[in-house]
Subunit: 234 residues, 2 copies
DNA sequence: CGATAGCTTGACTCACGTCAAGCCCGGTGG
DNA sequence: CCACCGGGCTTGACGTGAGTCAAGCTATCG
């Protein structure tokens, strides 16, 4: 509910409708698969706690993460309409998820036009994030790319109240970061060190601290507008 | 209408509703801006003929294209809900577009749940394409990336009946291709030549001919499933 | 007290970018 | 009808950002 309220206000009736959704929750360990490519899910999965990642695996064993998800995100809302998964979703950390039957979601969106639009918005914001990742991958050097990713992650988490001052808890290994940024592990390591040396961030034991957000954002060319974090009639 | 029918069947009533939409068409020359970053459009733009591209410009003058659109695609349906454009859309070739007032679209989706879902699907497929681009950019070498792009473009156009046997008409310059693939112009040139030498494609004067789709797709690791080109209740 | 996962470092390689020049072709103007 | 021009394509020489390989270091865990 909080996730949807980032984009527009909810009526009491809409809140009730959301509360009435049947949930089946589950705890997952880091790296457990939530959904596999090729699946035809009958439920959509809402992330309650922890991080989840969409991944695509290549023939030669390489892996690319195409988006990350934070608590409050629907991780596969699109399977409601696309039916067949074209990628995997895994638990990126230990996490808690809630499964909601497609039937219930379908009724919800058929009855509540405004809620339906807000759910649509969440998938559109995911797409906006994908576009930003494409631009970073295609046209930014590694250090700017990493800086952009940190800005984005921090801003997204802050939007949900999941930051801790200038820090966030984000327990990704450097191998995983490589899969996010499309770089080798070694280069991830060196790039983090570059940002550290510039006095822009600290990164230790799963805690990322931003020492100077403005300078970091400036280097990254980060403009948070694409995250659509404002309330507006939609 | 044909674009929506790729994903599910339409009822006569739905066709009528679509036909009743008020259109204002316009001809645009290659490189004309259709919508600019920061705009708050009051109309959404449907591409009728030609190609359009979403672009993001960096501070230092670099440019990245984040998606291409073919006739039948809505180029900024998301502005109906996101309100503010986070990127530019330009005419990638001379093209014809139709503008539809947001008010009319809004009524359409509020009245016709099934149409609303199908329009949602089109934005979800765009997102699936973005994910494929991310994976190509992050983890594939240039030649595989180009091969994948050609497979995707061909398959998308074929889905609309816009292919010409094994060829498609696609008048992009090598500079523009570089902006699509996130590579330098020189490297685009050499990569095209590599594919030519392998006997996989011809590319001359705006006509791309696929000499062996299976081998091309195999090299690219291309699996068309993510394009969702099949009819199914949605 | 090994075993293991993750981080760090150095040496080397290579894919791709940059720079610069030449070529081809169609369009324009004298 | 020709000279000129500019855009797009091609090529070679060279530089560099990032990948690969391999080793050592550190912290955590049984």
């Amino acid at each position: 509910m909080r996730a949807l309220e980032q984009y527009d206000v909810l009526s009491d009736e809409e809140r009730d409708a959301l509360r009435a959704l049947p949930l089946r929750t589950r705890l997952l360990q880091k790296n457990e698969e939530i959904i596999r490519e090729g699946d035809r899910p009958t439920h959509s999965c809402l992330l309650v706690a922890g991080f989840a990642a969409r991944t695509q695996n290549l023939e030669d064993g390489k892996r690319q993460i195409t988006n990350l998800h934070a608590p409050g995100d629907f991780v596969d809302l699109h399977s409601l309409l696309l039916k067949r998964m074209d990628h995997n979703v895994i638990a990126f950390s230990d996490c808690e998820v809630a499964f909601i039957p497609h039937g219930a979601l379908r009724e919800l969106i058929d009855r509540h036009n405004h809620l339906s639009r807000l759910l649509w918005v969440t998938t559109l914001v995911d797409a906006a994030i994908d576009r930003a990742w494409i631009t970073c991958l295609g046209r930014r050097p590694a250090i700017d790319h990493l800086a952009h990713f940190i800005c984005e992650l921090f801003t997204r988490l802050k939007g949900r109240g999941l930051n801790d001052g200038n820090s966030i808890l984000f327990g990704a290994t450097q191998v995983e970061l490589g899969d996010i940024l499309g770089m080798s592990t070694v280069h991830v390591n060196r790039t983090i060190q570059d940002l550290r040396k510039l006095g822009l961030i600290d990164w230790e034991a799963g805690r990322v601290t931003i020492r100077d957000f403005d300078r970091l954002a400036d280097r990254a060319g980060f403009d948070p507008a694409y995250l659509n974090q404002w309330v507006e009639p939609r």
